[in-house]
């Protein structure tokens, strides 16, 4: 299982759902196949957010251990497995990012609550189509779109985004809140 092989790997929902079911029954080989199919996508997400290969590898491990433990709670029909996995990898990477910041500046000492966060993930709804989300993001002001992307894909928080854009915290919050409201309105049309 070399890198090049995994890079080509992927998986449609149709292929992955039975694998998740097998994993839920405790079939270890199914996890190996799932890893084969999905690890390149998930590792790409971890690397993108964390920028460090060793940290991304740690988080990737956590993701698949979580899948092994929680596959039974994956609800078919709500979301495709690959969406579930991708968001799981993204969330765990962000947890790690926060932990890293905690170590460096010891602000916001609130520990993460992975179990609760994962339980929200179990309710992950069927994912939007990429095209549709793109269309609705394009409807937003450019800076709203950019901030929403940065937050979701880089793990930037309100204070960080405000500092980056050199605007007051309240301004940043209202940009994003209005952006989210509009986005939801557009996606629900």
């Amino acid at each position: 299982m070399d890198r090049a092989t995994r890079l080509k790997a992927g998986g449609s929902s149709r292929e992955l759902v039975p694998l998740i079911h097998s994993i839920a029954r405790g079939e270890r080989p199914a996890l190996a196949i799932l890893y084969q199919r999905t690890s390149a996508k998930l590792f790409g997400i971890c690397m993108h957010l964390l920028g460090s290969e060793s940290e991304a590898e740690d988080v990737l491990q956590e993701v698949y251990v979580t899948v092994w433990q929680k596959a039974a709670r994956f609800e078919e029909g709500r979301a495709s497995p690959i969406t579930w996995l991708a968001v799981l990898a993204r969330n765990k990477s962000i947890d790690r990012l926060r932990l890293r910041r905690l170590r460096t500046d010891s602000i916001d000492a609130a520990a993460d609550v992975p179990d609760e966060a994962d339980s929200a993930l179990e309710l992950l709804e069927q994912s939007e189509q990429s095209e549709r989300l793109k269309h609705c993001l394009d409807e937003l002001e450019e800076r709203q779109q950019a901030m929403i992307r940065s937050a979701f894909l880089e793990g930037a928080t309100y204070p960080e985004l405000a500092a980056r854009e050199a605007v007051p915290l309240g301004t940043m919050k209202s940009w994003i809140r209005r952006g989210l409201l509009r986005l939801r309105g557009c996606l629900e049309q």
Binding site: D2, T5, R28, A40, W68, E128, S130, I148
Partner: protein, 303 residues
């Protein structure tokens, strides 16, 4: 949920899923996650709305060590890390060699290795290890992601081949499963039907070979399988040599064997399958010698 206006918690759910919250607002969202199913559901919906953004990120291949670490974290019942690594080496070597011989493009091979934990026990008495754990090997095709898993359960003497999806072969072809023990003579385990999960219950002699460590291979054959099984197979000509170069020093001869015209099995079987190559040097691991068939040691290219 009643204490918080609907608009407000809906907004908070979006902010939580987006990941922008910190401080008191984050604490509040976390409290709602625990206490509020509606809030949790809205966070789930937001994840679904935003998830396509993740498709913009390019994939990246993790190092092979990551999967090994995952297996280790999942605990016993898995091949030990060293084994998996060794197996990968084998499969990679096979891939490299197959790339140099296009006729082999449809063939697959893998190695089942015995566990070092068993090997470290005294072997003079040939006593079987207590409750032997299943051996798992992954099998990859030349132009695809690896997609077969072979699990050998010595207790039940059962070999299970699980395929993630059907292997592509023409109607006039079938796949035949082989075991190639350390003596280098392939033995047919029969034709595979092409279903996602196939089970083989080999006889005592083949079982023993599997337990010691052998190459499993799948060849693409004319319908009906390779005629006369191991006999024809064993006489087939060598068709490629690049493995000798790829494998370098310290390895025994690795032969490619053909079956009639349609061939295609590449075996990386050798006598050191039960351990890393450096341990196969004579004298370095004397207690393991009794497990190694003597035929292996002499299977040099001149044979």
């Amino acid at each position: 949920m009643s204490a918080v206006p609907r608009d407000e918690w809906q907004q908070l759910a979006g902010e939580y899923a987006l990941g922008v919250l910190d401080g008191d607002e984050l604490a509040r969202a976390r409290a709602l996650l625990v206490a509020g199913p509606e809030f949790r559901a809205e966070v789930g919906r937001w994840y679904g709305r935003l998830a396509p953004l993740l498709d913009e990120i390019a994939p990246a291949g993790p190092r092979d060590e990551v999967w090994r670490a995952i297996e280790a974290r999942l605990g016993a019942g898995e091949p030990a890390g060293g084994n998996v690594h060794y197996l990968r080496r084998r499969v990679n070597v096979w891939r490299g060699a197959a790339a140099g011989a296009s006729a082999l493009a449809a063939s697959l091979a893998l190695v089942l290795v015995t566990r070092p934990a068993q090997v470290t026990a005294p072997v003079e008495t040939s006593a079987p290890a207590p409750a032997p754990a299943p051996l798992v090997a992954m099998l990859g095709g030349e132009d695809t992601a690896a997609r077969l898993l072979a699990t050998w359960n010595p207790g039940e003497r059962r070999l299970v081949i699980a395929a993630a999806d059907a292997l592509r072969v023409g109607d006039d072809r079938t796949r035949e499963l082989w075991v190639i023990p350390a003596d280098g003579t392939p033995r047919s385990l029969g034709v595979l039907r092409g279903s996602p999960r196939e089970q083989v219950e080999p006889g005592a002699d083949v079982s023993e070979h599997l337990q010691r460590g052998a190459t499993l291979a799948i060849s693409v054959e004319p319908s009906g399988g390779c005629e006369a099984g191991g006999v024809t197979f064993g006489r087939a000509r060598e068709i490629a040599r690049p493995t000798e170069r790829l494998l370098g020093r310290g390895h025994d001869k690795h032969r490619f064997l053909g079956c009639a015209a349609a061939l295609a099995l590449l075996s990386v079987a050798s006598c050191e399958v039960s351990g890393p190559p450096h341990r196969t040097q004579p004298g370095t691991k004397p207690r393991r010698r009794p497990q190694r068939p003597t035929a292996c040691r002499s299977s040099r290219p001149s044979r």
